[in-house]
Symmetry: C2
Subunit: 235 residues, 2 copies
Amino acid sequence: MVDKHLSTQFDAELSGISTRVLEMGGLVEAQVAQAVQALGDFSAESADEVLAREGRVNSMEIEIDRDLSTIIARRQPTARDLRLLIAISKSIANLERVGDEAARIARTVQRLVASGVSSRMRVPMSDLAFEAELATGQLRKALDAFARLDVERALDVLKHDDEIDKEFDGLLRKLITYMMEDPRTISSSIDLVFVAKAIERVGDHAKNLAEVVIYVVKGQDVRHNTPEAVETMVR
Amino acid sequence: MVDKHLSTQFDAELSGISTRVLEMGGLVEAQVAQAVQALGDFSAESADEVLAREGRVNSMEIEIDRDLSTIIARRQPTARDLRLLIAISKSIANLERVGDEAARIARTVQRLVASGVSSRMRVPMSDLAFEAELATGQLRKALDAFARLDVERALDVLKHDDEIDKEFDGLLRKLITYMMEDPRTISSSIDLVFVAKAIERVGDHAKNLAEVVIYVVKGQDVRHNTPEAVETMVR
């Protein structure tokens, strides 16, 4: 009965933490979307808002990590629960990195607006918006897989990662063409290359998160494998 | 006596793992140095060697992580030991990322050599080599801080991080000048921008590692603070 009681309390703590991880995930997803939108609008105000929320993302990581340590120290969890707790710590590190990418994009927007270059810039906005949609979609799917501990959904994330990479390659080629056509745009176009790269990395973080989900459920470390190999490993 | 015995065995396991973390650190540091050298020599063979060793880096991370889980599950470590074990897991994730950056640089070298563009390229090699020296120096210092659990050395890493950022900014400006002077070099110069960025990120990973060391020794999560603020926090 005591055991039952303790375990229920542990479950409640775990589920409380999971909820906050999902909340953090929703926040960083919104940060990326708003940062990319701020670029489309050349809105320094919107970029400022993203940066004003960066501290919140960072604190969430630190707070969740602290609570995880407390739970581990107090509960002496089983091997399986411990795997989950460590996985959560890795997940929020990934989410914090997504927040960093959003902040990077926002700072670029601020700089472009401040330099006055934005009015003369050619921005392949529909491509960037599409890349961002793919990346935040992957992130949402990975968070969903995390919430349900759903291996199939996690696999789905791994399978679609190369779409973002292809989109990035296309964007890079387009930006190089812009630069060659008008070398005066080189400096600002390179800023856009970094924006495209930041979005691509959001996709990478989603993939890492999906790998963590598979590790928690299956106990298998599937990093550094092709999606096909991972599929074989987990079935 | 049994406790003593167990604890000694635990210490031996811990120290075994620490040795392997340092070994992994030495390996990824060498990977970065060789990848940058391969660029200077335009040597596809040297780049191939870096990529051939990437699998070794990845396996080291997976193996050390597996052993950490085993230790935690078997030993029910104290809160302080647990903090160390989780910190080790975060450290090797950072080191694996350093290995990724080296692989990225090596793949760029392969592509540049294969495209035949290398013979016509202007490479600010002494700047890149200098940036790489700063970054691997920071990494070495962070690993040293990890080996001795030395907060002062870790602080020193945090204080010097902005030197690499400045070096990167200078390199970026130089590369933009090259591109403007000869727009035909835009595509290959952007490859070099990514190389410079990869080296800068090695410095970031060294900084993360230093923050982990401070966390282990002081129990304080000092991420997202200025070096000056961290210094005040730990003293």
